[in-house]
Symmetry: C2
Subunit: 386 residues, 2 copies
């Protein structure tokens, strides 16, 4: 329908430790990449939504305006959105609304984060502040801790094993090794992953996503205007969001994210599809256990079956549902604000058949699942070709 | 029209130095105030948009979720938005889009800031980071400095005087003295204001807005659903936004904000009204010069006439256009994320005839003008009774 919202351009910077580059330069790199397959110029875009999770990493307050300056959109309306690690998808949801409201025809969403300007310990501390700074982070709980608790609960309830967790990391590194924009391009064996250094039991080094610099960008417009920009628009067919209690101690379950299940329910309903219809998915694998839980919350596998399915290779290309075949947060990297936008960009590339040696052949419907904090912000989106 | 977006509830905490209260408690106070004139309960609201400008003030990263927990909206989708001092109106714009997109029927916007947890010097430094941290703030430019430059330019170009600037502060304190929720309730004479201590020439103490704690909340829904919530919905009839260069050194003019003019143009066009139709306005008087420039940018007075008009009392109730008759940022206070939401709430009260001893009699159309940074984020909104 003419009323549909479509993605008409996408780009991404190299993710990694990008020494000497700040949020300006990273954003510029992503937008330059986008412009390579874009029929029009930056002057044809009406407004921007900038996703940046933490201002302390860059030290720049109200950082949207510096990004807008650098990408050539001076004078055009902008906003910063933030939903912790779900910031990127929150940006897409905001831009979608602005177009539907009639404010703008065409909006660029740029997600960007500069994280390696501080030490890893400081980065972990800054991220821990997204936990409750009254009742959680001061007592030592950081994000590996939250997910270690979930992993332990999942192991106890379903018999999930460390090998199952590690197999998720092995897959991530396999596909990351094929992705030139991934932070780490290196295969890892299951044995290496299982025996890697412990971070927070039962999570090892290869269970934890990366602290990365990077940016990603997409341009959204109305389907009726898409032809100006591209011959191959990708539609955002469903959007669903969910949330959860601030403190994980208040939750009914630690083996599932209720906000993710709700977000998925809403996105499937809006798109008129079910989990069975999804050909390729990007899920928020901030930790390996998060991917296993995501595949269950999204309905790809029954509760408790995500671990065995991962170990069995069912989430590789050729398996039941290919997941994170760009390397995911684990190997592609996780520059907080960029992640959700990068997921949308990867699904777009998959649906357009442009994912090269990581292509899911014939992929027609894709899904992205982006989680902030430990489940307080979840956005699930479903995409297809128009 | 059924398609219109309306405000069906509003509330505000007391603004001020709210010792012992954090973002949670301030937000709760605003939402409690809102619930007093609201026909339904918090359970009838589908989602929230949380406006918080600076996470360093509270130390809470990704702070939307802690606010949502406290106001009884656990499990419902949320997002944080940030546009420096225009954060509150950015929240309203985002919620407007989400409803228009069909994501939700009813969305609460909560703007909140806890600023007095740090010293005034530290607050000024944190706010200065919203200037360019590469080329501006490290060289000593903080926000009083930006606006002092604009004031000097305005004085040079138009002959604006210190008395004219001070008269804006005098008016703010007059109306603030009548507003029980204002940070400072104290009349100030023109003589006192002109002779108050210098902050950044030509701006004195009574030219500068306050560092305040506070929160404000509004609930938006579709006009077709408004009856469930209230007998007197207020419509958001126009929304316009603008922006400007990051560095003020790059601007063509220092006596006007080009983003504000553009935002006004768009808002008037969408609403189908002109400056002459506005009965009451809330403008972003972070400094007295900012109010003078705002009244010119919005078309209430010709360029250069804002100062004389202010000194002449034309912006009091009974004058040509009553401006900031709640005390404005100068006397009501300026808790960054709350300000834009409080402006909308004040206009709503004015249009409903609920502003008591500060009521603009017969006000039918109102306007709010909310500016972030030194003009990089501007949102202008126009409201009427449905």
């Amino acid at each position: 329908m003419d009323d549909d919202i479509v993605i008409v351009g996408g780009g991404q910077s190299k993710f990694g430790k990008r020494k000497g580059l700040g949020i300006r330069e990273l954003a510029f790199e992503a937008v330059s990449d986008l412009m390579n397959d874009f029929n029009m110029g930056i002057e044809d875009i009406d407004a921007s939504v900038i996703g940046i999770a933490g201002e302390e990493f860059s030290g720049q307050g109200a950082p949207a305006a510096v990004v807008v300056d650098e990408i050539g959109m001076v004078g055009k309306p902008t906003i910063r959105v933030e939903s912790a690690c779900a910031t990127g998808s929150a940006g897409i949801k905001t831009a979608y609304g602005w177009i539907k409201a009639g404010f703008y025809d065409t909006v660029m969403v740029v997600g960007v984060e500069k994280m390696t300007s501080v030490s890893s310990a400081r980065a972990t501390e800054l991220m821990a502040r997204a936990g409750d700074v009254r009742w959680e982070s001061p007592y030592g709980c950081s994000f590996p801790g939250y997910y270690a608790i979930m992993a332990s609960a999942h192991m106890k309830e379903y018999g999930t094993t460390k090998e199952m967790l590690s197999s998720v990391g092995v897959k991530a590194h396999h596909y990351g090794s094929l992705n030139p924009k991934a932070h780490i391009q290196k295969e890892v064996s299951l044995e290496e992953a299982v025996n890697s250094i412990p971070i927070a039991y039962p999570l090892n080094l290869y269970d934890c996503s990366l602290i990365s610099d990077g940016a990603a960008a997409v341009v959204l417009t109305k389907a009726s205007l898409a032809k100006k920009y591209t011959d191959s628009p990708v539609r955002i067919k469903g959007v669903g969001s969910g949330s959860d209690t601030m403190e994980i101690a208040h939750r009914k379950s630690l083996t599932s994210l209720s906000g993710a299940k709700e977000a998925a329910r809403r996105a499937y309903k809006m798109a008129g599809v079910t989990a069975k219809d999804i050909d390729v998915a990007e899920v928020h694998d901030c930790f390996t256990i998060a991917e296993i839980i995501a595949t269950e919350d999204l309905g790809f596998f029954e509760p408790g079956q995500g671990g065995p399915a991962a170990l069995d290779g069912q989430t590789y290309i050729g398996g039941k549902i290919p997941i994170n075949v760009d390397g995911g947060l684990k190997s592609k990297g996780h520059p907080l604000g960029a992640t959700g936008v990068s997921q949308a960009n990867e699904i777009r590339n998959q649906l357009l058949g442009k994912s090269y040696n990581r292509q899911v052949e014939g992929a027609k419907i894709g899904l992205s699942h982006n989680v902030g904090q430990s489940g307080q912000f979840v956005n699930v989106m479903i995409y297809d070709r128009v």
